[in-house]
């Protein structure tokens, strides 16, 4: 058993650490969080499997949502040969990678937007006294395995795109493809954490983050040439969604960036993902600290 760490880590977590149980191995807060996350996720998966029909339908449904998105693009291309100068397989690459990234982030911590409801009905209090970091609990809350459907769909479309496209492969580009899906997921995850933190202030504005996640993905599935330059600057330098797939994918496709950024920027996605977690985690901490229970 370890003493309570000297560094104050927020009242919530420390309260829960009090009961000393020999079996519980105490690692760092990150490891502790991951362990708690794993346990809660396992519980939700077992619970999901109770209603198997519903699970199968929801998984297929999630795959179908993205498939129908793509069918709409496909129908557009039955009327045109190119959109914003991009062909169908090129757009499929953008669409598939972004969809897989969002699906991954959505599965791993997509239910953070439920925190608004938990603040309103006071059930966040229960989470604060449990011996697991609140973020891990909030992220694992109602973990939805059905979101595998979207990930599979996105990867499928991306696979088709890469199969069809005539890419001038280099080692860097080969690494860039899985890198962009993972870094993209991390960027979306940071947006989700920020959105959750924002709800400590606003209570029930869960939908705002949909603008950046689902809205972002709707935008990123089309080529950047379609959009106004100011919008492109915004999603490159302010909310860096362009790093989810536009910049890496443009490099893979051998196309110049409409903002004229140099080619090596395409490789910055993992770094950007890392950097955006900084404000996200600060916002999250500030949110948890400012939390006042509704008292019910």
């Amino acid at each position: 058993m370890e003493a309570v760490p000297a560094r104050p880590r927020g009242l919530a977590v420390d309260v829960g650490r009090a009961p000393a149980e020999g079996r519980i191995r105490r690692g760092g807060p990150v490891r502790e969080g991951l362990r708690g996350y794993r346990l809660i996720v396992g519980m939700w998966i077992r619970s999901t499997m109770t209603y198997r029909t519903s699970f199968v339908l929801t998984t297929v449904g999630h795959a179908a949502i993205t498939l129908l998105d793509f069918v709409a693009i496909y129908i557009m291309f039955s009327h045109v040969d190119a959109l914003g100068g991009f062909t169908l397989p090129e757009i499929a690459l953008l669409y598939g990678s972004c969809s897989a990234s969002l699906g991954l982030a959505d599965m791993l911590l997509g239910n953070t937007d439920r925190i608004g409801a938990r603040i309103r009905d006071g059930s966040l209090d229960t989470m604060l006294v449990r011996p697991v970091p609140v973020l891990a609990q909030v992220a694992a809350d109602r973990f939805a395995l059905r979101r595998l459907g979207r990930i599979g769909q996105g990867l499928g479309v991306m696979g088709w795109a890469l199969w069809t496209l005539d890419v001038d492969w280099t080692a860097g580009k080969v690494l860039l493809v899985p890198g962009m899906v993972l870094a993209g997921a991390a960027i979306f995850a940071a947006v989700m954490v920020t959105g959750a933190a924002f709800q400590f202030v606003t209570g029930d504005a869960a939908e705002v983050q949909n603008s950046f996640t689902y809205g972002g993905c709707t935008m990123l599935q089309y080529p950047p040439t379609v959009f106004a330059k100011d919008l492109l600057r915004g999603v490159t330098f302010v909310v860096p969604l362009a790093f989810v797939n536009w910049l890496p994918a443009l490099h893979v496709l051998g196309r110049p960036d409409p903002l004229g950024l140099p080619g090596w920027v395409a490789y910055l996605s993992p770094l950007v993902a890392f950097v955006v977690f900084l404000p996200a985690s600060l916002a999250w901490r500030a949110g948890v600290r400012s939390y006042r229970s509704t008292g019910s």
């Binding site: 209603y51 029909t53 519903s54 699970f55 199968v56 339908l57 929801t58 297929v60 449904g61 999630h62 179908a64 949502i65 129908l68 998105d69 069918v71 709409a72 129908i75 557009m76 039955s78 009327h79 045109v80 190119a82 959109l83 914003g84 059905r146 606003t202 209570g203 029930d204 504005a205 869960a206 939908e207 705002v208 949909n210 603008s211 809205g215 709707t218 935008m219 089309y222 040439t225 379609v226 959009f227 106004a228 919008l231």
Partner: protein
């Protein structure tokens, strides 16, 4: 009869007030609808630049389609939302027994509540995105007040069709207990077949004709076409509104059949 009408009006007013309570949520929704409106508008500009006149719309009409659909999306519960999840929860927990015991018709009760909700969301979430869109893009909004009146009637019918479908989705919980799967399937079909993803007039050939005959078409595509003047003249308007009214009646009737099948199997759990 008068008491019935008063009852359902009160239920509808309750639905309206209930959603009017959540000011921040409404503001957040308006923000999201506006952001989506901008994104989709840019893609439509690219598409209609490439193929002017696609689907029988010029670019201004296509942009009007985008912004008006963003305005109707919350009211029509086209991407989820609405009452069906609450109904399913009541079925799952057994609270539905209380609803069935009330001296009011279950379907009409929920219809009134849902129309109240839709009424609020039409105003609260519909007006601002449309104004934002009209300021940022050249839209083809009509000036003829009669056209707007027809549009409002068409929207009302669209809301009833949307309700009737979602009522059946809600009742499925009597058999499946957990409605999450059916809800997602229902949302997917409504997003695609209502024309929200892409106007149904752009869908090619026989498939296009098929999707335009489905009930989801009555939920978005038809009201928008009424607004854009594609059903001009008394005959055209009657045909469009008749199509919607027909689906509304058929689906409400189907909902009643499903309801009577479901309530025959209700076993109330004690406790």
């Amino acid at each position: 009869m008068r008491r019935r009408v008063r009852l359902y009006l009160a239920v509808a007013a309750g639905g309206f007030r209930r959603y009017a309570t959540y000011g921040t949520a409404t503001a957040a929704g308006v923000f999201t609808n506006t952001v989506f409106g901008f994104i989709v508008a840019y893609t439509y500009i690219a598409l209609w630049d490439e193929r002017p006149g696609l689907g029988g719309y010029d670019q201004a009409q296509a942009l009007t389609f985008v912004w008006v659909s963003q305005s109707l999306l919350a009211a029509g519960a086209l991407i989820g939302g609405g009452f069906q999840e609450e109904l399913q929860e009541r079925i799952r927990t057994g609270d539905i027994a209380v609803d069935l015991y009330r001296p009011a018709d279950l379907q009409m009760w929920w219809l009134a509540a849902d129309l109240g909700r839709a009424g609020f969301q039409l105003l609260g979430r519909g007006v601002v995105p449309l104004v934002a869109g009209a300021l940022a893009f050249p839209l083809a909004l009509p000036v003829d007040p009669l056209r707007w009146l027809l549009f409002l009637v068409s929207v009302l019918l669209a809301l009833v069709v949307s309700f009737a479908l979602r009522y059946m989705v809600g009742l499925v919980a009597f058999w499946l207990m957990d409605g999450a799967g059916v809800n997602i399937m229902a949302t997917v079909t409504s997003i695609f077949f209502s024309g929200m993803l892409l106007p149904l007039t752009v869908f090619p050939g026989g498939f296009g004709e098929f999707v335009r005959a489905l009930p989801w078409s009555a939920m978005l595509q038809v009201p928008l076409d009424v607004l854009l003047g594609r059903h001009a003249g008394a005959g055209g308007a009657a045909e469009a509104l008749g199509f919607q009214a027909g689906w509304a009646l058929v689906l409400l009737g189907a909902g009643r059949l499903l309801q009577s099948a479901a309530t025959r199997k209700v076993v109330v759990q004690g406790g």
